[in-house]
């Protein structure tokens, strides 16, 4: 396995520069959050409401519903999902020492998609009491289980005598992804046209279904997974030098791989479960940051979380404002914005554009 990531020993000033970037990105995230609460299809604005509260006036029911039941849970979910996708992307790219790796490549996305499709297509035939039990959460729960199931299977396949082969994992991930895709295809075939339309929209991703229930069900797992991923900085830096070298400089490589895989499965599984398929955040954000502040994972992971959250929130603002009162699936927005950026990054890497 060749390491494609350029290995670069970060000079001290570069590291402090990257640390300063934490603060800049945190500021940008805060501004994005304010923007997200300020605008929407209704003319309810955060500033007007704060003014009302300051003057001791009561908020109208419309204002309360829009702020507390629609925009705030949506913002919270956007922050969680954006951070989860970007951190997972950064961790995967570090783990595979391949800048093209993303959670989709190890089959987490396909597994989660299979779970969601199962719930949408077969949900109707479950006994009523079972539907009542999970209610509207059936699709997210199934997606999450699908993501976890495929990750665990993958891990089993690629681990022998306690050693995980990243190369095997990559290949097995592609095979499992294809298998999940094929099984999804069978279900698509037996789906009726209404379910098909649900599947299409699920696949495009959206934060429109945000609710406090979803934030509370996915939030703890996402935060835990991000927290675990943020501790991998030194280990991933070591891994960039090769497994043997990493082991020689005192890194428990196997333990680090375990943590990275669990963190990615947890964060991506839960994020995909609540928001559907949202592409490009996981692959574009770490790239942009490596260009801006170098490949040091000690700063890259946290910066990815901040920038991922910021970009997803801004994409969501675009998704719900641009054709209001209707809204675009957010996956379309991230792909339309993300794909050209990604292409530009690729061209730049090969020295084909000067910018």
């Amino acid at each position: 396995m060749t390491a494609i990531t350029e290995i670069e020993v970060a000079p001290r000033d570069r590291l402090s520069q990257a640390r300063a970037l934490h603060w800049g990105l945190a500021g940008a995230l805060l501004l994005a959050c304010i923007a997200s609460l300020q605008v929407g299809a209704t003319d309810v604005t955060l500033s007007a409401m704060l003014g009302k509260i300051a003057q001791g006036q009561a908020l109208s029911q419309m204002e309360r519903v829009v702020l507390f039941d629609i925009r705030l849970p949506r913002l919270a979910m956007g922050v969680l999902v954006g951070a989860a996708l970007a951190v997972s992307g950064a961790a995967m790219q570090g783990l595979f020492r391949n800048p093209l790796a993303d959670p989709g490549i190890v089959g987490v996305g396909a597994g989660a998609g299979l779970g969601a499709i199962l719930a949408i297509v077969l949900g109707a035939v479950l006994p009523i009491w079972m539907i009542d039990l999970v209610g509207n959460q059936m699709v997210p729960v199934a997606a999450f289980l699908g993501g976890w199931g495929s990750t665990i299977l993958l891990y089993r396949v690629s681990t022998r005598h306690g050693r995980t082969s990243v190369a095997t994992m990559l290949l097995a991930g592609i095979a499992l992804g294809a298998l999940a895709g094929a099984l999804s295809g069978i279900l698509v075939y037996i789906a009726d046209d209404r379910q098909l339309r649900d599947l299409t929209f699920w696949g495009l991703g959206s934060l429109a279904g945000a609710s406090w229930a979803k934030v509370l069900s996915a939030g703890p797992l996402i935060l835990l997974s991000i927290g675990a991923a943020l501790m991998l900085g030194r280990g991933l830096n070591g891994l960039a030098l090769g497994e043997a070298t990493a082991a020689h400089i005192g890194i428990d490589v196997q333990r680090m791989k375990n943590i990275a895989i669990l963190a990615v499965a947890g964060a991506t599984g839960a994020a995909v479960a609540v928001s559907g398929g949202i592409g490009f955040i996981g692959i574009v954000v770490p790239h942009l940051l490596r260009l801006a502040s170098g490949p040091d994972h000690r700063t890259l992971l946290l910066n990815s979380a901040l920038l991922g959250a910021t970009l997803l929130i801004l994409a969501d603002v675009i998704a719900r404002v641009v054709i209001a009162p209707a809204e675009l699936p957010i996956g379309i927005v991230t792909a339309v914005l993300g794909a050209p950026v990604f292409l530009w990054i690729l061209l730049k890497r090969r020295g084909m554009v000067e910018l």
């Binding site: 209404r194 209001a324 009162p325």
Partner: protein
């Protein structure tokens, strides 16, 4: 060139006529109708529900609609809250409805939950594939709009129209033509309607025989099965302009080339909402399809 010159006058006349019709439409839309003291605050979701609202003379109360609501044409001027299966809660609330009338199956469910929490009345109108179902839709919409008497009137009208259309459409079993409803021919693969769909119901009501009864719903069908289904007529949605597949291309598809329909080059195209909406215009759809099926060739 000469034809171009001579048709200039015709174009001008056509433009004037269209302009006149447009003015007439806007004027008539502004004319006060019964109940116009009520403010426009109804959001209608689903093509057939919107048609019923208009047929009840309550169009002036519509404030917004969804993408599937395209008839009567004037409603397309209203704000569009998006596709009925992918509604945005804030988008829906932003049009300020105090009543939402929705065809069964609007979503996503989480969006509807939030909308209900905002204290907006939400009335779900069940799907229908039978004359009785259409009457029930009309009653539910009439009750929700507070015009039950008008709904009774409309229901009676629709009932009579449907009964007479069905009676006129009746044919002896042996004469019935086999109809293949083709939803799409994307990539040379034919997606056709089996049983349990609006297309199947309409074909039966118009005294046709659905050529495909082996499966339920709309599915891709193999070329050989199309041959076995042996349709006398292909029925498709009229997408207007160049969006639909041309007749030559359709009859040139290997699956269709060998069917009786290809031999007689029988293809019918109807407006999708008229055909599959199951609203107040279904009697019209039954007659149109029946006429088209049996007027030619027999």
């Amino acid at each position: 060139m000469t034809s171009c010159n001579s048709s200039k006058g015709a174009y001008a006349a056509l433009l004037t006529a269209m302009f006149g019709a447009f003015i007439a439409m806007t004027v008539s839309a502004q004319e006060p109708t019964e109940g116009s003291n009520l403010r426009a605050d109804v959001l209608s979701i689903g093509g057939s529900v919107t048609e019923i609202v208009a047929a009840l003379g309550q169009e002036h109360r519509l404030k917004a609609r969804d993408t599937t609501s395209s008839y009567p044409p004037e409603v397309t001027k209203l704000p569009d809250v998006g596709y009925m299966r992918a509604l945005s809660p804030e988008g829906v609330l932003s049009v300020g409805p105090s009543l939402i009338l929705s065809e069964e199956g609007a979503g996503p469910p989480e969006a509807l939950e939030v909308i209900r929490a905002a204290d907006v009345s939400f009335v779900e109108v069940p799907d229908a594939l039978t004359p009785d179902g259409i009457l029930r839709k009309i009653e539910i919409v009439g009750d929700a709009l507070g015009v039950p008497d008008r709904a009774d009137g409309l229901a009676a009208e629709v009932e009579t129209a449907l009964a007479s259309a069905l009676r006129d459409a009746e044919r002896p079993e042996a004469d019935k033509r086999r109809v293949l409803f083709v939803l799409s021919t994307q990539g040379g693969k034919i997606t056709a309607s089996g049983t349990g769909t609006a297309a199947d119901a309409l074909i039966r009501m118009a005294s046709g025989v659905n050529a495909v009864t082996e499966y339920e719903g709309y599915k891709q069908i193999t070329d050989e099965a199309v041959g076995l289904a042996a349709p006398d007529v292909i029925l498709m949605m009229d997408r207007g302009g160049d969006h639909g597949v041309a007749d030559e291309d359709l009859f040139d598809m290997p699956a269709i080339r060998l069917t009786p329909a290809a031999q007689t080059r029988s293809v019918l195209r109807m407006d999708g909402l008229l055909m599959l909406g199951f609203g107040p215009r279904t009697a019209e759809a039954v007659r149109a399809l029946n006429d088209a099926l049996y007027a030619e060739g027999t």
